[in-house]
């Protein structure tokens, strides 16, 4: 198939960017979206032009490196699919495709489609863990965990930290990301000791980073490649309020 791409080009963080059009021909339906961009980039390099910068690594939908807005949707049109796992059979000959970086003031553009997501790491550093030193642990079976709790923890822990939730949200809120970590650890006995401080400290850091608030659009869940439920946001809000009341 032949496609016309409109790609956001921006040479650096402090330079203004714009959409630029490129034609890509003979695209196979078996290609992944990123392989299609690889082909474009090989072509651009050959012509002495600067290739499109984009983050990617595992190309298996698990590392969370890749992410771009494709035709207005974070990670593109297919549900529960990262853009590296999106395949060209979802498009048709003659399509025009608009490709942009995650847009959020807390995720400044570094170059083209690459954004700086260090804010996520700083939020985790405030409490997204269990404070257990290596060697502290007792036997793994010493504390039984109900299967339903373990499954729920896993549902939340599936987050890959890609940032699609922020990109999809009209308020650029990071609440689904933060709630996923809080929900993961709050579902397990191991996470109870620091449950209050975790909720409080992570939410405060999230606000400090300049992410917006949740106004219940649920775009985050729709865009999440792991399908993480907004129910975790409700839980996070409860935990945060409880923790705040306790002071």
């Amino acid at each position: 198939m032949n496609l016309r791409l409109h790609i956001w080009r921006q040479a650096g963080p402090s330079v203004e960017g714009s959409l630029k059009a490129y034609d890509v021909n003979n695209v196979s339906e078996h290609m992944s979206f990123l392989e299609m961009l690889d082909v474009l980039n090989e072509d651009l390099i050959g012509k002495g032009e600067s290739p499109v910068a984009f983050d990617h690594d595992c190309r298996e939908g698990i590392c969370g490196s890749c992410g771009m807005v494709v035709n207005g949707a974070a990670h593109g049109p297919e549900r529960k699919t990262t853009v590296c796992q999106l395949h060209m059979r979802k498009f048709k000959d003659g399509d025009e495709i608009y490709i942009e970086p995650w847009r959020a003031s807390a995720f400044p553009v570094i170059r083209d489609l690459v954004v700086d997501r260090a804010a996520f790491d700083r939020i985790i550093q405030k409490g997204g863990f269990v404070s257990v030193n290596t060697g502290n642990a007792q036997d793994g079976n010493a504390i039984p965990v109900a299967k339903v709790d373990a499954d729920r923890a896993m549902d939340a822990a599936a987050c890959i930290g890609c940032g699609a939730c922020v990109a999809a949200c009209p308020n650029a809120s990071a609440m689904l990301f933060v709630a996923a970590k809080i929900g993961h650890l709050a579902s397990l006995p191991q996470g109870q000791a620091e449950r209050d401080s975790r909720a409080r400290d992570m939410v405060l850091q999230m606000d400090t980073e300049g992410f917006g608030s949740c106004s219940n659009h649920y775009e985050c869940e729709a865009a999440c490649p792991k399908g993480i439920s907004v129910e975790f946001i409700a839980q996070m809000n409860r935990d945060f309020v409880k923790a705040s009341l306790k002071g």
Binding site: C58, A118, D121, Q125
Partner: protein, 637 residues
């Protein structure tokens, strides 16, 4: 150079305990005076950095990713082994040790493997305490499954995302230390070189991938946890950025490279679909627990799988290896797939595929059960191929997955360069010539959480650390060399992209140094690789500058090292006149096509010393002794 593995004396069961009891300690108040650089934040690197910081050392961690949560450990699907014997099915530390030595085709160091099996149980405890959501039974206890090459159920898992969950656990432990200020985390910094002063590893050179700044960082010890080199084949299951640069640069600075030819080809990957292919995707081998592998009995059978009756199918693994069947070890399953495809019985485009069929399991257990076990893997398969594996059998083919070779290390996980420690896939130590399923995660975390914290302390306690700074001539020289190399890559201004060179190198390696190797083929590779390398340095095209985010430049820098490393790998494969594990030489096979080891002449670790680019490296041998697991022909029949 005489290689000394520094294996403690005494019976194998007591070596590690004795080592710990005998090791010198660093006073808690003095620990903060020792600084460590940890390169790589995968399972081994993140767990090491977090644990060393907990102990009080001054830790700096480096990753070329934008976050410490992205390393390719994250992609491991199946699980992690541990000798817990929770299933009461006869597992023990001894059995895990035995299976690993045997699975490694008797080319691993017994003492290291025993220690790995010994610490495996602590890894599970630690990860559970961190909140890793392992699969549980309804009673609330941990669930296990059996995994390729094992007859007990000792594999712990978190759906099909075990690597992810373990890495996130280690990342969280690391993040906690970053928050506490005990680890300084450097993201988007790629290691360019190792700094060696007075024979000791004392620092690294990095390039900032956003600004292009090249600088040195100095410390008392350097830990490389930089993963494997499978991407020398271009197409592999590795992430795109995985590379050999850190370990290869250390090799060029004097560290020995152990067994580079040992490459694991994973039997269950999605076959390639076109020449634009950028990587291959693994389907967890846990699928082999319920899937049955087959090809048509007849050559060139063009019928769709549902049209091929039972009698016209060859379930070749079940036929050839009745006791292990579809769960035969990876090297055996991979070669068997290649064999049937070479016979012209392969399926799918190009005949490079075999069926992995779940029809029987769905009939026996029902679709919901299969969905629960493998749902995400089935979804992934369908996303990539557009075929529904609940209805049509999956097509799979072997692909490069893991590299057992790596920098040579002793029992302390220290290379022959004092102060240079190497953990996880980056070292050579525990898997011999073939790694068993669910053992990579175990080794990465074992090294990082439970081995390095003890061994590095012993190194520091020896004392003798002169202060060093980035102003030292060695550091300045290494920085200047790295800068010069960047300029050189940018200055060629030829016609070919790094990707096109990488692809061509990968093709040479896959054809001549891949699943089956011959003397003639390897010699051919030794002619082709230097030629291609020459062309690379004449005709490379890298646009842009070195002072900005330049992904083409990053790639070129990595490919440049693969161009040299490939030759080392082939040299090793050519010298090893035997077949063992992930190294199969067609000249050395039994009448029925099984690998034929030569224990008399080759029961050693081949550790290579760098002598110059294009110059033959010097071979050093560490003889392996098998006092506990007696050398035997592996049989999975």
């Amino acid at each position: 150079m005489k290689l000394n593995a520094h294996i403690p004396d005494g019976p194998i069961e007591q070596k590690w305990d004795k080592y710990i009891a005998d090791s010198k300690l660093v006073n808690p108040a003095n620990k903060r005076k020792f600084s460590v650089l940890v390169v790589g934040t995968g399972l081994a690197g993140a767990s090491a950095a977090a644990t060393l910081a907990e102990l009080g050392y001054n830790v700096h961690a480096y990753t070329y990713h934008d976050s410490a949560r992205r390393a390719h450990s994250i992609a491991a699907q199946g699980g992690i082994n541990a000798a817990k014997n929770y299933q009461n099915d006869g597992d023990s530390v001894w059995r895990l040790f035995y299976d690993t030595v045997k699975g490694g085709d008797f080319r691993a160091r017994e003492a290291n493997v025993y220690r790995l099996a010994h610490v495996s149980t602590s890894i599970i405890d630690q990860c559970v305490a961190q909140g890793v959501p392992f699969a549980r039974e309804y009673g609330g206890y941990l669930s296990n499954r059996s995994f390729g090459g094992a007859q007990v159920s000792r594999t712990f898992y978190a759906r099909g995302q075990t690597g992810q969950q373990l890495l996130i656990g280690a990342y969280q432990a690391l993040s906690r230390q970053v928050g506490l200020g005990t680890v300084t985390l450097h993201t988007k910094k790629e290691m360019m070189d190792l700094v060696v002063i007075n024979g000791k590893a004392r620092g690294i050179v990095t390039r900032d991938m956003k600004s292009g700044e090249i600088e040195s960082h100095m410390a008392d010890a350097v830990i490389l946890a930089t993963g494997g080199y499978g991407n020398v084949f271009y197409l592999s299951t590795n992430a795109k950025a995985c590379n050999v640069t850190a370990t290869y640069r250390a090799y060029k600075k004097g560290a020995l490279f152990g067994n580079p030819c040992y490459t694991q080809i994973h039997p269950t990957c999605i076959p390639m679909s076109g020449d634009y292919q950028s990587k291959l995707t693994l389907m967890s081998e846990s699928l082999r627990n319920d899937g049955r592998i087959w090809v048509p009995e007849l050559k060139g059978d063009t019928r769709t799988p549902d049209q091929i009756p039972e009698g016209d199918r060859d379930y070749y693994l079940e036929r050839k290896y009745p006791s292990y069947g579809n769960l035969s070890p990876r090297d055996i399953a991979s070669r068997a797939a290649k064999q049937v495809c070479d016979e012209g019985r392969g399926v799918g485009p190009g005949g490079l595929g075999v069926y992995l069929d779940f029809a029987d399991a769905i009939k026996r257990l029902g679709q919901p059960k299969i969905e629960e076990r493998y749902g995400n893997l089935f979804e992934m398969y369908e996303r990539i191929t557009g075929e529904n594996p609940y209805v049509v059998p999956m097509r799979i083919y072997p692909a490069v997955h893991y590299t057992m070779g790596g920098l040579w290390v002793d029992y302390n996980l220290m290379s022959n360069l004092p102060g240079l420690f190497v953990l996880g896939e980056a070292n050579f130590s525990d898997h011999g010539a073939n790694r068993l399923g669910a053992s990579a995660l175990m080794q990465g975390l074992g090294d990082g959480y439970f081995v390095i914290p003890y061994t590095i302390g012993g190194y520091f306690a020896q004392g003798g650390f002169e202060p060093v700074s980035s102003d030292s001539p060695e550091a300045k020289h290494a920085v200047a060399e790295a800068a010069e190399r960047v300029e050189k890559l940018l200055g060629i201004k030829g016609k070919r992209t790094p990707a096109s060179f990488h692809r061509e190198l990968g093709k040479i390696m896959w054809e001549l140094c891949g699943m089956a190797r011959t003397e003639a083929g390897l010699k051919e590779a030794l002619v082709k690789i230097p030629k291609l390398r020459e062309e690379f340095w004449k005709d490379l095209l890298v646009p842009g500058s070195g002072e900005e985010l330049n992904q083409t430049l990053e790639h070129a820098n990595r490919v440049a090292d693969f161009m040299e490393f490939a030759e080392l790998m082939v040299t090793d494969a050519l010298h090893r006149n035997e077949s063992c594990g992930g190294h199969f030489r067609e000249e050395y096979q039994t009448e029925d096509g099984e690998a034929l080891r030569n224990d008399e002449d080759f029961a050693y670790v081949a550790a290579w010393e760098f002598n110059g680019v294009g110059v033959a490296p010097t071979l050093h041998k560490e003889e392996l002794t098998f006092d506990n697991v007696h050398l035997a022909t592996r049989s999975y029949k």
